[in-house]
């Protein structure tokens, strides 16, 4: 199985995401933002970073990259798509996911080992976890506070589309402690913390993040 990892100018965690894909048991394929085809991948990850410097708004310029058109089409057809951090911001800018990520409530960049609970194990990226499982993975961003209107929030909550929630003190001011959400179909997931930085205890706080990358294999087998 092949998982594409997209590099925009300013993407930083692409090599980490590719390593996590490989550790999870799939083959990582590099996708360049100017690519016009997806090289036959079965799933795509939009990794973290500061694409285009995050100028204007985080993710606002990347969403117009040529590769995004193909990714949006494929995701609308059911292809698993995971946006991590800056990737989540891109997914919100493309409106594949609702809401927006705004400045952390403490107003500065925060890098910390964050406990989250997995609230939905039916998505393409979370089936390896158990409902309510608490895991610790790094959170690192300056604009990670998930915001949306009350109506959207009610829909997300009502439909069980909150994928992960922060446990304990709210690290960044996200509404309802939201750390990640999914679309109605469950193939697209946006996640603020970084599972690709938690695939072993040598370089990460835990190996808890690996579950996201093994889950997508199950999604393919189905």
């Amino acid at each position: 199985m092949k998982v594409g990892v997209v590099t925009f100018p300013g993407t930083l965690d692409d090599r980490d995401a590719a390593r996590a894909v490989t550790t999870g048991g799939a083959t990582a394929i590099s996708l360049w933002h100017k690519d016009a085809d997806l090289k036959g991948v079965d799933a795509v990850i939009l990794p973290g970073g500061f694409s285009y410097g995050d100028y204007l708004r985080c993710g606002a310029i990347s969403r117009f990259a040529p590769v995004m058109e193909k990714i949006i089409d494929a995701a609308k057809g059911g292809m698993p798509l995971l946006g991590i951090c800056n990737g989540f911001q891109v997914l919100c800018e493309t409106h594949l996911l609702p809401g927006a990520l705004t400045r952390n409530s403490e107003l500065h960049f925060l890098c910390t080992d964050q406990k989250i609970s997995i609230e939905n194990t039916t998505t393409a990226w979370t089936s390896s976890f158990t409902q309510g499982q608490e895991i610790v993975i790094p959170l690192k961003n300056g604009e990670g506070a998930f915001m949306c209107d009350d109506e959207t929030l009610a829909v997300l909550e009502g439909e069980g589309r909150i994928v992960a929630r922060y446990v304990g003190e709210n690290p960044n001011g996200s509404r309802n402690l939201i750390a990640g959400i999914t679309n109605e179909r469950g193939n697209i997931v946006g996640l603020m913390p970084h599972p690709e930085h938690a695939i072993n205890t040598l370089t990460g706080p835990t190996a808890d993040g690996l579950g996201f990358f093994t889950s997508v294999l199950n999604a393919m087998v189905k």
Partner: protein
């Protein structure tokens, strides 16, 4: 009720990475009108009644001290009806 607006811009000689990024993105989307783009900040301050000269002077001081960084930024204070 009136509104005092403070527009803060990077000084012309200071590099504006954000403006440059937008300037580079526009032609990629087919918009060719821009010779250059600079990005700034806008503060809207609501006050009771019409602003007095003294209040405006105070806003100038506040802008110099807090809203703008005079080392790299300039600002303009104006009243919006």
């Amino acid at each position: 009720m009136a509104k005092i607006v403070v527009d803060v811009m990077l000084k012309p000689e200071i590099l504006d990475p954000q403006g440059s990024a937008v300037s580079a993105a526009l032609p990629r989307l087919g918009f060719t009108f821009a010779k250059s783009v600079r990005q700034g900040k806008r503060f809207e301050i609501e006050i009771e009644g019409e602003p007095t000269a003294a209040q405006l002077a105070e806003v100038e001081v506040a802008a110099e001290k807090l809203l703008a960084n005079p080392v790299i930024e300039t600002f303009v204070v104006r009243v919006e009806k």
